[in-house]
Symmetry: C2
Subunit: 677 residues, 2 copies
């Protein structure tokens, strides 16, 4: 029997009523290294089921699946083209493939008739019987719950129908199934959702911050809040809404945000007389009131900060923490009598931002100033802390502190009597604004976490240590079991008293191994195992999450050693990340070495002329070209060109007569370039 | 010369060009006690100037001015009616009146011609000359800056033209110019804006929380957050936006919010495919994810809380803190395996809410349960803390803690395997939600503050004590001055070291008297005066903000006495407020005594049948009728009927056979009724 007939003889064409249900069979090719052979993905779904490729990628653990071209149909399935394809051709496959089956089929009766193509009608019962021969490749999946347009999806695929494959699949699904070095984006998504940091939400570009990530934010809030209050900043709260009139007052400024502003036009069923915007940032919300409140130089400095959320309705591909339509941040807005005082504060705040990254999140950064092209629209200069993501070799802006000069104060009439006297003209105040967002959590996660799950620096981790009773076997007596448990509980209680965020897991229904995986996935920094041997030796076995190194700690040293171990782990995370950043930040003086270094996942320090056109030229000249196979729609994709990240405060020495790396102008400083987020 | 001719002879009718500017002359009558003689308000403004009555009220320090009826024109100005009135009739007045002059007149040339009525045309120069004879009554005011639709306006009226009256006016404007007992609404607004708690914002119904009020909120946050974390609640953050599909899932629930939901329909210049709502509360935002996260009873209880802002686009008259379109709050949402556990938590949280009022804000409350009519839509029962505002005699809902039963869990499929085994049906979880908003700050302010300004309980006040050097006169030598200053600074520094939120004011450009007023206005609980005598006697003079009682404190007792004084002040505020609440909460068993007691600014405890129709009847029957003089548009106005506030947990004993206060049914409990916010 020919392949073509393998199904045809089952066709119930003659009996077909109008009630037959159209089915589609699609073939995708995932992205793979040029040398590797791609494993095709066959998707069998009801015609009415949307089958977004990001979901397909997730279900199969592959990268960027695209609809296959005819070559693949010919070479792999010996089928002329996509149009001719039915599942009958699966019989021709000589090597493995993925087979994803729409779980909506499960809702049909065995006697329901499926329409495979113009001529082929077959009952669902027969159809599944036919497919069952490919059971080892197949997975039944749920496309229907994917409501967000995000690439990601946090839901588990439904288990496969075949019992054996399901078991394997399910076992795997507890942990991370994507390799950080192979599919960074897929890994990042799994890390966040399975680690319970975040969940995807049914409004695209919005995410839920679950307790483990929100707790990190709270630690950052407390740390930063204490420091800014110590320099005289007070917290306040300004409204979520801005009238269009006020929003549009500072032209340069609003231009940067206008395309992303969300507008409220209705309340209940009534149209608003005038739409109101949701703040994308609060300069224009706040400064009319600064003008009102600041009457005399004695009202200066005015230093206000707010912890709030802002909305920027990006149409680009969203990414958890890094690019989201709503995000949490703090925004500080200060007004000063003198430029010098304002400028000093800009740098003071930047040091605090550096502290959040380096001291709390164990993330190394480079401090510097943004170029003219990249500075905050409407301001005078922008300072920044820039991070580095080793897997992608891309730079990432960490947080920015802007000096606004008198631009806004002139626009909003924020001025005071001249201290020289009423005969002198009024003085417009000098302003700063500075902001740090929940993006920091994304950067931290990308840098430290691994294929086992999250790795969270102890200083910010909601939980710092988990205590587990171990060594309980079938031979353990009840008395021994109770003793092991109570020893572990005693350790937990001592740690808590010592101010360590510890907890225990005494559930005997799970094996220690299962628990190890769980808490590795969730990134608990230290695991303390207390078993019979440990008890005998008055010790506890400690395993570090970052490198799984085992240490034994004498129980009489518990309160001193555990805090030390946490601090050591914190430092080691930082040093490892710093080593990676340092070794991938290379000095390149000549253009010929620029792109090759970029492609080796480096960020680059180059002598530069400081001219914006040259900066744009560098970006264009360092972009990867479309290779015909794929088309990058996202300007943030790895193929994009190098942007200026910052002009680092710490500069390599510029040689006499040094030319710009790109053009013939003399270099005026080193600039850090890189592909970036 | 007759009154009618006093202006007519000045008329330039024959010379009138088309360029004459129409003027209006309006007369208002403010609300006053029946026994008092009202002082009419004459408003002279360009026809094109809007002259909203709330502004008129503010400029004149009067209450609810309404357009005067003909009687008043006749009796006061001997003018037939409003139509015939011009400023000429001011000459007929035999007692004082207010005269408000539109400052837009200032922009006209003296030669510009004003049209007073059909026949009367007069140059601006002559017109003002005529008005100058009423200089002592007049004030030039700025109607044009009023942009918000709020009754309130935080801007100072422009000073009057007459130099002498302006000076007085300006001096007054530093402090509160409205009497708390005469014009409570006007007083409340001044207290908040002049005390710098809050400012009005250019989007109606939204307000700016300035540092002194936000600091109170931060104290409440810390206090409550510590307590809920101790009972296992974790903080999280869910998005601002809700899709309409999800919002509308729970019908009863959404009905309550639908008319007030704000909708985002545009981003940049693009229309959204589907509008998204801004959360009015987060039940429907969160529970689909509860359904996803809760798989087993081991995932229970799930207790999440978020500190966020929500939007309810009320179309009623907004009021700072009490009724605002955006407000800050916390919302806790918990899921439990058993009803009992859930119900226990509802009461535990209610106790925390009571603690915020009584322990932090020194505000007495009554705990109880809401009636069927007043409970949270979609829930099973609502518990509440109810406060009382003595000046208006109205009750105010303080915060609510709801038991939702299984209503939402059934709708959102939040369920777990039955602990009895897989053969038993799944169990829907029992849920609670509970919220407390920045409304608390409004309640606190209304209760404690006075005609000198804010009074803020020490435990929540951003600043607790101000230290002032006093007794510096012209005779004081520079050496003495320095000594007085350094003594005060030493006191400030010792207080700060003792953990007291103290500050000093050493500015010699202001008199101590001016500073006293300032810090009384801002509600700093203790003022410490250190003068030569104090220094001599090793003491400091302490003045309590609430009652201006003076106490001397020996310097060697500073660190113990000042905290004691703060606590005493805190307690005294509470006791005074409690006495007022207790004496205005009266038991009324018979309907005949109900309304009269209500009108005496009481809330009422009455035996009640518990039937909703009866509750509605009580409300209708206790509403004041329109007396023909005025018409109340706002259902929250003082004339409205009594609503049920709560069924207090602490109940008077019900007599055998006691009937309902209103109907013939037997009473089942005492219910607390009152007019309310």
């Amino acid at each position: 029997m020919s392949v073509e007939n393998s199904l045809a003889h089952l066709s119930v064409e003659d009996k077909v009523a109008e009630g037959s249900i159209p089915l589609k069979s699609l073939v995708f090719k995932p992205k793979t290294a040029k040398t590797a052979t791609p494993v095709p993905i066959v998707v069998v779904a009801l015609q009415s089921t949307a089958t977004p490729s990001p979901l397909i990628a997730q279900f199969t653990g592959t990268k960027e699946p695209r609809l296959a071209r005819d070559e693949l149909f010919q070479s792999f399935f010996k089928c002329e083209n996509a149009k001719a394809f039915t599942v009958a051709y699966l019989l021709n496959a000589e090597s493995e493939f993925h087979l994803l089956i729409d779980n909506q089929l499960g809702h049909l009766k065995d006697s329901d008739v499926l329409q495979l193509n113009e001529k082929l009608f077959i009952t669902k019962g027969e159809f599944l019987k036919f497919l069952s021969q490919f059971e080892s490749f197949q997975k039944v999946v749920d496309f229907s719950q994917e409501v967000s347009k995000d690439a990601g999806n946090s839901k588990k695929p439904a288990p496969a129908t075949g019992a054996s494959s399901a078991a394997i699949e399910d076992a795997k699904l507890i942990g991370i199934t994507v390799d950080k070095s192979l599919d960074f984006a897929g890994w990042y998504q799994q890390i966040l959702t399975k680690g319970e940091m975040l969940d995807y939400y049914d409004v695209s570009g919005c995410y839920i911050l679950r307790p483990p990530s929100y707790a990190i934010w709270e630690t950052i809030q407390r740390w930063f809040d204490d420091r800014i209050k110590a320099i005289g900043v007070q917290n306040a709260y300004f409204p979520l809404f801005v009238s269009s009139k006020v929003l549009e007052k500072e032209k340069d400024h609003v231009e940067g945000f206008a395309p992303e502003v969300a507008w409220v036009t209705k309340a209940g069923s009534s149209d608003l007389e005038e739409p109101v915007a949701i703040r994308p940032t609060s300069e224009t919300v706040m400064y009319p009131y600064y003008a009102k409140w600041i009457r005399s130089y004695r009202d200066l400095p005015l230093k206000l900060n707010q912890w709030n959320s802002v909305v920027r309705w990006e149409f680009k591909h969203p990414q958890p923490f890094l690019r989201t339509r709503e995000f949490l941040w703090q925004e500080g807005h200060t007004a000063h009598l003198t430029q010098q005082e304002a400028e000093e504060e800009v740098l003071q705040i930047l040091d605090f931002y550096a502290g959040i990254y380096e001291e709390l999140l164990a993330v190394p950064i480079v401090k510097g100033r943004k170029t003219e092209k990249e500075r905050f629209a409407g301001g005078v200069f922008t300072t920044t802390v820039e991070g580095y993501i080793p897997q992608t070799g891309r730079g990432i802006q960490g947080a920015t502190s802007h000096h606004l000069g008198q631009n806004f104060s002139k626009m909003f009439n924020v001025n005071v009597e001249n201290p020289l006297g009423p005969d002198h003209p009024k003085v417009n105040v000098f302003q700063n604004s500075w902001g740090l967002s929940t993006r920091v959590i994304g950067v931290m996660t990308m840098i430290h976490s691994d294929n086992k799950g999250l790795v969270i620096p102890p200083r910010v981790s909601q939980k710092q240590a988990v205590v587990l009773p171990v060594g309980i076997t079938k031979k353990t007596t009840e008395e021994q079991r109770v003793h092991i448990h109570s020893s572990a509980k005693e350790i937990e209680s001592r740690l808590k008293k010592a101010g360590i965020r510890a907890f225990g897991d005494y559930n005997d229904n799970y094996t220690p191994g299962w628990k190890f995986s769980q808490y590795e996935l969730k990134g608990v920094p230290l695991r303390l195992e207390s078993g019979p041997k440990d008890i005998e030796n008055n010790q506890v076995t400690v395993v570090r999450r970052n490198d799984f190194r085992r240490v034994t700690v004498k129980l009489n040293e518990l309160e001193t050693r555990i805090p030390e171990l946490l601090e050591e782990l914190q430092r080691d995370l930082y040093l490892r990340a710093k080593e990676l950043f340092d070794s991938h930040r290379v000095v390149v003086d000549e253009w010929k070495d620029f792109v090759s270094n970029l492609n080796r996942k480096n960020v680059i320090l180059s002598p530069w002329c400081g001219v914006t056109e040259c900066e744009e030229d560098i970006k264009d000249s360092s972009a990867k070209r479309d290779d015909g196979e794929e088309f990058e729609q996202d300007e943030k994709a790895p193929s994009m060109g190098a942007k200026s990240l910052c002009i680092p405060f710490e500069q390599p020495e510029l040689k006499q007569g040094q030319k710009c790396v790109k053009c013939s102008r003399p270099a005026v400083q080193y600039c850090m370039f890189g592909r970036s987020y």
